[in-house]
Symmetry: C2
Subunit: 196 residues, 2 copies
């Protein structure tokens, strides 16, 4: 059975893919807002993991909608949540099983129980979160066991999460993204698998 995993190149989505690959034929999927966006570091991460990788493009207007939400609320959480739901919805048109790297300790993006139920019922898919039942300490230990990663802050490290592209678009429009996003957001990028 195929499973389509939402993939940023970071440690959580990579670990979710590795764990899931024991029981599913995993394919990695990275969503971008702009059709021209290239993500060589994410592509290398996918290559290191050894799973097929697909770049998928969000429908036109979603980036503007996300930016409007951020401008009006003053913080990115609702917009990130909305974009994540949209990605899962899109992905469910390609796979019967969709998955992501949501951890138990995550706050955003995190679908509520009702949202998960509704997603599965309306889209007739299974939404799997392999890391949901693992506390941070165990995720860290599994990451160390399976993955080689580098860490940095958003902006210094290329990865395929939504935040980077939204931040860039704010900058391109001469707006200060810094007033919406928390100053320090630790990111990770997978550069290899460990040999175990």
């Amino acid at each position: 059975m195929k499973a389509g995993v939402l993939f940023s190149g970071g440690k959580d989505s990579s670990l979710a893919a590795v764990l899931l690959s024991r029981d599913y034929a995993v394919e990695l999927n990275t969503f971008v807002f702009g059709p021209g966006r290239i993500l060589p570091a994410v592509e290398r991460a996918a290559l290191a993991l050894g799973f097929p990788w697909h770049v998928r493009i969000f429908g036109e207007g979603l980036l503007a909608r996300a930016m409007d939400m951020i401008r009006s609320s003053g913080y990115p959480n609702d917009a990130i949540q909305m974009v994540h739901r949209y990605a899962l919805k899109e992905l469910s048109t390609h796979y019967r099983v969709v998955a992501d790297g949501t951890r138990f300790d995550d706050r955003v993006p995190m679908l509520s129980r009702d949202e998960v139920q509704s997603l599965q019922d309306t889209l007739r898919c299974s939404y799997v979160r392999p890391l949901l039942g693992f506390p941070r300490r165990e995720v860290d230990s599994l990451v160390a066991r399976h993955l080689q990663i580098i860490c940095g802050e958003t902006g210094n490290l290329e990865n395929g999460d939504y935040e980077a592209e939204i931040r860039e678009e704010f900058r391109a429009r001469g707006e200060d993204a810094g007033k919406y996003f928390p100053p320090l957001h630790e990111q990770s990028l997978v550069i290899g698998m460990t040999s175990t």
Copy 2:
């Protein structure tokens, strides 16, 4: 790293153990109220899975406390929840990683986010629920892939969950357990692994 899994012999705790065994040295642990209680079917299930199995005995008085809670509330949920928490707590004295077969769709036993945090902080353990991120449909499909099971109702199928022993104690005291417990509670028992 060792992980102590709460084990009833049923499909959920068995599947949790199988999934976890890819990354941890799994040991199965079945709690009983009465020191003399024997569970040959659960022992055979543990043998079929191939992991070490330990029977652990709850402290004296816990069964009476659970029965009092059930009598006073009129339903078993709070008591089952209390007993489950107690089992996790006990288990954390033996393992740094404790685990169970809680699924996303479960209502009871299900620890809240705060309870999980508190359990981990006070007992300095990791509490892992490998099935938490899997919807029922995927759990069923993984069970079919890995396990041979038989199904039945509580009372007709021996397994190591708390309900059976509590029900028996009500009966032994001449009380009707049926007025507290829902009439139909589907149970499962693992009888083998599939060959895949």
